[in-house]
Subunit: 417 residues, 2 copies
């Protein structure tokens, strides 16, 4: 077994080569990576079966088992994801800006690879292939630290990807899996400033909290989404119902699903009973304030915890507010800076303007479901996560968001006076 | 005395107001801030005298006393700095990008303020006014944690700035000074994720290391500069001498001064003796490898520590290398990712291309002194520091670099299929 230091050091050593591969070479290698996964599907499924068996023996929940499971279809999907990444424009070398200074220096701001990207994630083997392909296209090495419970699956996937790199004469250490499955390896990884340029934690709140609190490597915080839909006084009923139902029920277990419904008191008088009945009929468990409960018997009293919780399930908190100011104050108090939505029939109004300007979140949606905050939906072609911090990248992170830049300054012998 | 929590919470509360001030209001307030410093110069100088007296009693070095000292001229310079910031374009509200997605969503990527910027710095009271003005123009509150030894000076400056804000009806807590001068206050500040969006440490290596290692708030690492000048085989002697002398001696105590000279072996044979004699005649103490010492008797043998050290004084390490590859390997091993320079008479050559592409630094200069890495020299109008990390901002940070962005997504009721 390689120690984590050996893995990180290998990824760092490979990063100089990866940074300078041509777009054509990277794309050809990506297509071979996709092919290799399909060719090796039996080995990967066999490795996954070992993980699944151990997970079942530990009494893992069905939901987690479903995330862990691989089959032919899921492997084909991973391969297709890699092919899509091959088809995306190469971010490396893009001239972001250029100008000439008063001293006659010609400055270019050029997009460059990050170096080594570390990713810490849960038992979802598809993330292994996705993240490796994204980092590689963006010119960086990747150090993958998946869950110990998916180790066999991850190792099989990484082995296929590395074989593909080697077949193109590329150092396979561009994709490194952490082989040390002890918890201490994560702590060590979080302090490897010498080898790792950025760490992206992907997973539940405790995994992210651990990275944020203990890392000395810069972290991009991702994913926790306590998203709200605010239905303003002027909202059209059908649009409001469509958006609230979609945001809550279309895929409740993901970070861009809505968790709290805020409703203007005047709209509530006319329509809230009908909307809440609709949600109840769809199996949503409602936790509401006193006024909202007066419109629907099925609503359970909400506690302060309900406003802060990311349910990730068919539950929704409901609160009636006096106006947009109260809605925004609630959102900025309890939200996680992910995605916030207003439904209004006057998108050009002062109310909508106030909402757009004052809500502090990566994405502020006017008359569009919170579910759209996603690299694919934004047209980025792929995403490595959704940033909920303000530094570096905010919202969906595609290829550009996992790069850095440098200044190339060209002169004719200028010195500073 | 306010606790640091009270100060941070006040800055946070004020940030929502600052974020929405019009450009005109901010500029008018900045001009009043500049005026207030000049009006209050006697009070400020008196406060500074108390800091100076205590510092002298503690036996503070002349260099540090010089940084701490304020006089009428320095106060006028601070005021002029603020006026220049007033004249810069407002970064807030800039539409960075916009597009329409396949679902017909109209997405705008809009520049927004960071929120609360925390800055931790040494005994240089001019940073207090600079940083406060930059943060304010960028729409953020600032929490200033200066050195305890400059507390009286900082408090007097902040008091003037706050009076100016109040006179425009703006909450003065947009500019907050940490009143708790205990070291524990810094530790507490580094963990105030609830109130502070980013921390920028400005000062020596240990101050920066403390922030990087102990902060849970995202940090932008600044300033340590072990910068190199590489003189290639083809370099013109006069240009090389001009650049090396300027990079080393024009202001040796700053981060963009050069610390190590790397010379191609063929150029060394012809010119290194002459160049080293020139440096010696200018008072530079040279620490060199064996070959470089053969060209000049005054060169002291270099140790491994010399390659890694940021001298910040009239000392320079010297090494003769076989070619650009050896030079770049040296730079990427010992450099601090700040500014690296190549001198060459063939700026379009493969050698120059290799240097530009392979050196891992915020700024890579071809035939231009390292001393140009500076927000003013780049034309940013001002700077809050020079980032040496790859995340968020790299190199000189002006107003744009201390902002974030958000996505405004406008639809007509779209839901996700």
């Amino acid at each position: 077994m390689k120690t984590i230091k050996e893995s990180a050091s290998a990824a760092k050593a490979a990063s100089a080569e990866v940074a300078h591969l041509s777009t054509d070479t990277k794309n050809a290698a990506l297509l071979t990576m996709a092919e290799a996964l399909v060719e090796d599907k039996e080995k990967i499924i066999a490795a996954n079966a070992r993980d699944m068996k151990a997970a079942k023996e530990r009494g893992t929940s069905d939901a987690l088992l479903d995330r862990l499971a691989l089959n032919e279809k899921r492997i084909a999907d991973m391969a297709e994801g890699i092919r899509q990444i091959a088809a995306l424009p190469d971010p490396v070398g893009e001239i972001i800006d250029s100008w000439v200074t008063a001293d006659g220096l010609r400055i270019k701001k050029v997009r460059v690879p990050m170096g080594v990207i570390g990713i810490i994630y849960e038992a979802r083997p598809n993330v292994t292939a996705d993240a490796a392909a994204l980092a590689f296209k963006a010119g960086s090495s990747i150090l993958l630290r998946g869950s110990a419970s998916a180790y066999e699956s991850n190792a099989a996937i990484v082995s296929s990807l590395r074989r593909a790199l080697t077949s193109h004469g590329i150092c396979p250490d561009a994709v490194c899996l952490v082989e040390d499955n002890n918890r201490e390896a994560v702590s060590e990884m979080l302090r490897m400033r010498e080898y790792i340029d950025v760490i992206i934690p992907r997973g539940g709140a405790s995994l992210i909290k651990n990275a944020v609190e203990n890392s000395t490597v810069p972290v991009i915080e991702t994913g926790v989404g306590n998203c709200h839909v605010y239905v303003d006084e002027s909202a059209d009923y059908d649009m409001a119902e469509n958006i609230v139902v979609n945001a809550k029920t279309q895929r409740p277990g993901v970070c861009n699903a809505a968790e709290t419904l805020l409703v203007h008191k005047k709209w509530a008088e006319k329509y809230l009973g009908r909307l809440l009945s609709k949600l109840v009929s769809l199996g949503v468990e409602l936790h509401g304030d006193e006024i909202s409960r007066s419109f629907c018997d099925a609503v359970i009293p909400a506690t302060d915890d309900d406003w802060a919780e990311e349910y990730l399930s068919l539950k929704m908190a409901v609160r009636v507010v006096d106006d947009v100011r109260e809605a925004v104050a609630h959102i900025n108090k309890y939200g996680t800076k992910h995605t916030e939505c207003i439904v209004t029939s006057s998108p050009g109004s002062e109310v909508a303007k106030y909402f757009k300007e004052t809500v502090d979140a990566a994405a502020v949606n006017v008359n569009a479901s919170t579910r759209f905050t996603d690299g694919f939906m934004y047209g980025f072609g792929a995403e490595i996560g959704i940033s909920t911090q303000k530094l570096h990248a905010r919202g969906p992170m595609g290829l550009r968001e996992i790069t850095s830049y440098k200044y190339i300054v060209e002169g004719d012998g200028q010195i500073r006076k």
